[in-house]
Amino acid sequence: MDALNKLPLNIAAAIRGLFGDPHSIWADLTMTVIGIVLVIVLIVLAALILILLERKIGGWASQRPGPNRLGPRGWFQTIADALKLLGKEDVTPAEADRFIFKIAPMIVFALPMMTLAVIPFGMGMVPIDLDLGIMYYLAISAISTLALLMAGWGSNSNYSMLGGMRAVAQMISYEIPLIFSLLGVVMITQTFSLSKIVEAQSTIPFVVIQPIAFVIYFIAGIAEVNRAPFDLVEADQEIVAGPFTEYTGLRWGLFFLGEYGNMTAVAALITTMFLGGWQGPGFLPGIVWFFLKVGIIIFLMMWIRWTFPRMRIDHLMGLAWKVLLPLSLLNILLTGLGIYIYQYVLRIGG
């Protein structure tokens, strides 16, 4: 099993070996490119699988068959849908702000790629290992607010604009408890590096020590990626599709890819921060453990989406400011006290 765990590392070392000096700039560059290509492939594959999975789970939840026509048990449905999107006409509304309108979906698609680049997928398997990984992740994921606002503003449509405004209000509010909930883990591990945080969880995952932070991050994470019951941004019963209303074809498809990419990224961060990342009992390689945990989190998110009705905007804000924010502050206080007592006991005992 150890060999399987180390297999990706050995492959990487072999590729570096091809360059003579394994730490030359060309070797580093090649490894970075390979890492980024793998992340892009991961996002596209994840979107293809997750969209189908979402429809299947939706069918299962509301007791329908779900897609079942194309291929074995409907497994080719998403591929057919993606091909159809490619063939659609690319319409830009006459009154739209063309530059902003066109660039917004690209930003939405680029963000999960950038965030997933710092996630440790397995032992030593971090595309880019930053010392300030958490900071980087939070900073990049916050940009998606801007992208949605750009899409909403650029479309020059009332539905889109309302959706964009909702996106700003909602995501900025939820950013705060989201960041505070991660602070507890940072206080315990004394590091911002995601790979070091995973290593610190070799004995016990932080969900046991930081249950409040886990719940807060889970809720705020769902709100951050605009999924039900917090999907006010694209509430189809009210504002048709929010910022995405005016988009067609591949541009709309990019939003879709971005949404599922973001979902994967949030699930990956939850796995890394609270569920021990790639660490797990030794009978499976680390990367399998990682994706298993990500899959469970994504399943939970889908389950919640299909079960709960949508929240109202004032309740949504109330939840963020009146419940999650105080709770996350309380969690920081408790964590600080816990660390203090722990160190005191160590000093007495030692």
Binding site: S62, Q63, R64, N158, I239, T307, P309, R310, R312, I313
Partner: protein, 367 residues
């Protein structure tokens, strides 16, 4: 500092919009997220049914009534054929009366199931919607066994009932009624008991007793505002005076009570169907009605309590084979006039829910 006011926006919802029931259209004016004015537009489904009736014989018009409130076609049939029977003074056999009641109450359950499902769906509660439509399917199967059609059930005739129900109808009906309490518990659990759904509907969209009366609202919308008014009790038609059932009345006046009252009514309908199943006599299902029906000169108004409220047919006969005038008093046409009155001041999301609780069926509104 004074509160900054934003520019007022107008948002067009419908006739093709994910939240709209049928082809209703409204232009919502709002300030931020608060609705200031609702401008409803109807008529996208206008087919001129009242005028069409004047060029059809009395019997030929029955299938047109299916298309009024297409979620509860048996009620429309019943209201119309009973109006004609009243006009022509036709007595119908007992068994036909009971079959009519069973069909009407089944249609009430089916219509309320669609209501609960679409109310949930308007708040993105997909699963509750799936449950409701799954269970409604069994009622439609029952209709299909007898009438051949599922939605536009056209089983009632002037003078009785079109055909005898098949043998497999009764066991299927019984098993449906046996499973019903469990289904209702499911809806209660997944939708009515849900914290988010309660938060969105409790104390929202207040319709006071006075307003409800002034707008001549009928049906569950009125009963959820604390007025006990049900034609089945107050002006019994057919054989409704033989059954024992309660008329649920709620006093919350809000969206939640307007939603919940449908759940309670389903229980009462099930009670009526059970009694009808127990008491139904053997015998003919069709009275002797002349092939060419020429009712005496006169006029008649007959109203029944359909799932949405009072559905009335006003018929004028000039002694010929065709009605001289037909007027339809449909419940939702009057109920949705409440929307511009009670919506201002609530958020867009609330108004979507308020509209759903009025349970509009555009076939009945536009006629």
């Amino acid at each position: 500092m004074t509160l900054e006011r934003t520019e007022e926006l107008a948002l067009n919802l419908g006739p093709q919009h994910p939240s709209m029931h049928g082809v209703f259209r409204m232009v919502a004016h709002f300030d931020g997220e608060i609705i200031t004015k609702i401008d409803p537009k109807i008529g996208y489904l206008h087919r001129g049914l009242e005028k069409l009736a004047e060029s059809r014989t009395y019997a030929q018009f029955i299938p047109y009534t299916d298309r009024l409130d297409y979620l509860a076609a048996p009620h429309n049939n019943m209201a119309y054929v009973q109006a004609v029977e009243k006009l022509a003074n036709i007595q119908i056999p007992e068994r036909a009366e009971y079959l009519r009641v069973i069909f009407a109450e089944l249609a009430r359950i089916a219509s309320h199931l669609v209501f609960i499902g679409s109310l949930a769906l308007d708040m993105a509660g997909w699963t509750a919607w799936g449950y409701c439509f799954r269970d409604r399917e069994r009622i439609l199967d029952l209709f299909e066994m007898t009438a051949g059609s599922r939605l536009t059930v056209n089983a009632m005739r002037i003078g009785g009932f079109s055909q005898e129900v098949p043998d497999e109808f009764w066991p299927a009906l019984k098993s449906f009624l046996d499973d019903l309490p469990e289904m209702l518990e499911e809806y209660q659990g997944i939708f009515y008991g849900n914290e988010i759904a309660m938060g969105r509907m409790k104390s929202v969209g207040i319709l006071t007793k006075e307003d409800a009366a002034n707008f001549s609202t009928t049906g569950p919308v009125l009963r959820a505002s604390g007025v006990k008014h049900d034609l089945r009790k107050d002006a019994p038609y057919g054989i409704y005076d033989r059954f024992e059932f309660d008329v649920p009345v709620l006093y919350g006046c809000d969206s939640y009570d307007r939603g919940l009252i449908r759940l309670l009514e389903i229980k009462e309908s099930a009670k009526i169907i059970r009694q009808a199943m127990r008491d139904i006599p053997e015998g003919p299902i069709m009275a002797k009605v002349p092939k060419v029906l020429k009712p005496p000169v006169g006029e008649v108004y007959h109203a029944v309590e359909n799932p949405k409220g009072e559905l009335g047919f006003y018929l004028v006969s000039d002694g010929s084979t065709k009605p001289a005038r037909l007027r339809i008093r449909s419940a939702t046409f009057i109920n949705i006039q409440l929307l511009p009155a009670i919506s201002p001041g609530w958020k867009i999301q609330d108004v979507i829910a308020i509209f759903a609780t009025l349970d509009a069926v555009l076939g009945e509104v536009d006629k």
